[in-house]
């Protein structure tokens, strides 16, 4: 079964921040045109967030001001300023999902996980985030749990998410 493109969507352990490793990652991407976003993505992929200490390293390597790199970093919703919880649950709150009962579903998810949107639960088990469209609008409401996609989010699926988050 080697055809198609398969995205595993499984979580992988993140490394602890190390400036040496950070510099390596930055150097790997430096030859790219407009390397800032690829670097920020790669840092987040490795460390689970973009450590504040990485910003001056990027600025130095790219010959940019720190303010400029910081500005880019903070502009985008994706880049994390601190590590996320053990599980990351993203619930689509855009129009097509709203039309399919998403208001009710998203509230239920918040209750089931005992977590507010945009926050990481105090015990660090889960980060719950709203997301604007996953392109699953014809099988709404939609969610992404630890990188895995879920369509037609129903009560059963919410129970499964809650169970996964407990693990």
């Amino acid at each position: 079964m080697t055809t198609g493109h398969i995205v595993s969507g499984s979580r992988h352990a993140h490394e602890a921040w190390s400036p040496t490793r950070g510099r390596e990652i930055i150097a790997d991407h430096l030859p790219l045109e407009g390397a800032t976003l690829p670097i920020l993505h790669a840092l987040q992929e490795t460390f689970g967030y973009v450590p504040q200490d990485a910003i001056p390293l990027i600025a130095d390597a790219m010959n940019l001001s720190r303010a400029e790199v910081h500005g880019t970093f903070t502009f985008y919703h994706d880049f994390r300023h601190e590590p996320a919880g053990k599980h990351v649950v993203k619930i689509c709150v855009a129009e097509a999902c709203q039309a399919a009962g998403g208001h009710v579903t998203s509230a239920k998810v918040g209750e089931a996980l005992d977590c507010a949107y945009g926050e990481t639960r105090a015990d660090g088990q889960v980060t719950l985030e709203p997301i604007y469209c996953l392109g699953l609008c014809a099988c709404a409401p939609a969610a992404m749990v630890n990188g895995r996609l879920i369509g037609r989010l129903d009560d059963e699926a919410i129970d499964e998410i809650a169970a996964e988050v407990r693990s």
């Binding site: 079964m1 198609g4 045109e33 976003l37 709203q98 039309a99 609008c137």
Partner: protein, 519 residues
Amino acid sequence: MTARIYVPCDAAAVALGADKVAKAFADAFAARGLDVQIVRNGSRGMFWLEPLVEVVTPFGRRVGYGPVKPRDVDALIDGGLLEGRGGPLYLDNVEKIPFFAKQERFTFKRVGLTDPVSLDDYLAHGGYKGLERAIAIGPSETVEQVFESGLRGRGGAGFPTGIKWRTVAACAPGKKYIVCNADEGDSGTFADRMIMEGDPFQLIEGMTIAGVAVGADKGYVYCRSEYPHAVAAMNKAVAAARKAGYLGSRIAGSEYDFDMEIRVGAGAYVCGEETSLLESLEGRRGLVRAKPPLPAHKGLFGKPTVINNVISLASVPFIMAEGAKAYADVGFGRSRGTMPIQLAGNVKHGGLYEIAFGVTLGELVEEVGGGTFTGRPVRAVQVGGPLGAYFPRELFDTPFDYEAFAKKDGLIGHGGIVIFDDSVDMAKQARFAMEFCSVESCGKCTPCRIGSTRGVEVMDKIIAGVEREKNLTILEDLSNTMKFGSLCALGGFTPYPVMSALTHFPEDFGRGSVPMAAE
């Protein structure tokens, strides 16, 4: 001959369990000692039937079963699935299902049919015929073909693609870029995603033709980060095309060079706006640039740049292979060719429906889409994403066409239709439009940045019943300020969903129902 079954790897099919179904089949075939090839195809775009599994029978017929759950797999195999025998989930030839049969699949002709990342499959199904012809007739003839096809940008604005290409082609030779806008941020849309996941070589071919046509040797696809499957498929296909000599220097044995890269966005809706996208590709905040200069003159890194939507570029191989006329022959008014329409939200038969322009909104919603899945009456549809207007049933006779929608104060945008039943609260939808604008504003201009935040506050008061008439007047003023004072369409078009909701559904805003103004 090894038997073969198809289980989609499209993200929506996967979201409905396709990976688990594929694994269940693999396990079941192994347990039975059967030699069956499992091909992960794209989706046919009929999402109420996903995961939709297809089988090639010993007689060479291709028949479908769906929606299949992992627990159905044993019964399907024992019931004769490999021989194409009937059963509860049997769909026969899926191309005969009315939703599919009535389409005109120009751009989506291979999606769902083939293994998306197999170059052999692509070539066996007519792939790279368009590039071959572009190389044969040369750059200026290629640009003219695209112009004559009448193709207009499918990203939303509907600007003629041929004119854009002419402008870049006319710039002095030197570094030029092809940028593909794969940010697809509009709720209710997934056509770009389905092309990238279901037929990525077609997008690569389209960009390569653009490169040949305007004299660019480098392309970027800027894909939103919410689409990991699309990114994976594009990367795999680019690597395969490069290996086979379709990307790199002297592509396909010609005198032209062209290569490309996939870049991933970072969750900013405004980066779908072309100049914001260019800023982002260059590594900066996605602040919208003032125009002029046009990207065609000064685009990526200040160089002449063609920036087109995924569907615009993916339409080009058909136009080149079949001729501009074959494309222009279908359509409506100044909207030529086909549009992949996406039916989403509370819809019974949701999915992708590619059809010539001119079909009415009502046909799409009621006949093709089959109304709502809740079984309740359709009350409103939002067409064209978060910046598109809400249409009531009274406007269902509007033909799907750029100009016809503009005449009704709406837009077709990227072709997404989000269907709502009668439980929708239109004041809430208007509030959401303002909220979305305030969350996603790039912050460059005041009417958008401050106006949308004020808009949310005003909507909250209206919803709470505080001084309604006064606040509705403020809302109308605010909308006008945003419409005329914003630099880009995020601030400029947010008033469309807001005002259309108020105009067509005044009762939800505490205003008595007023008869629709005569045209």
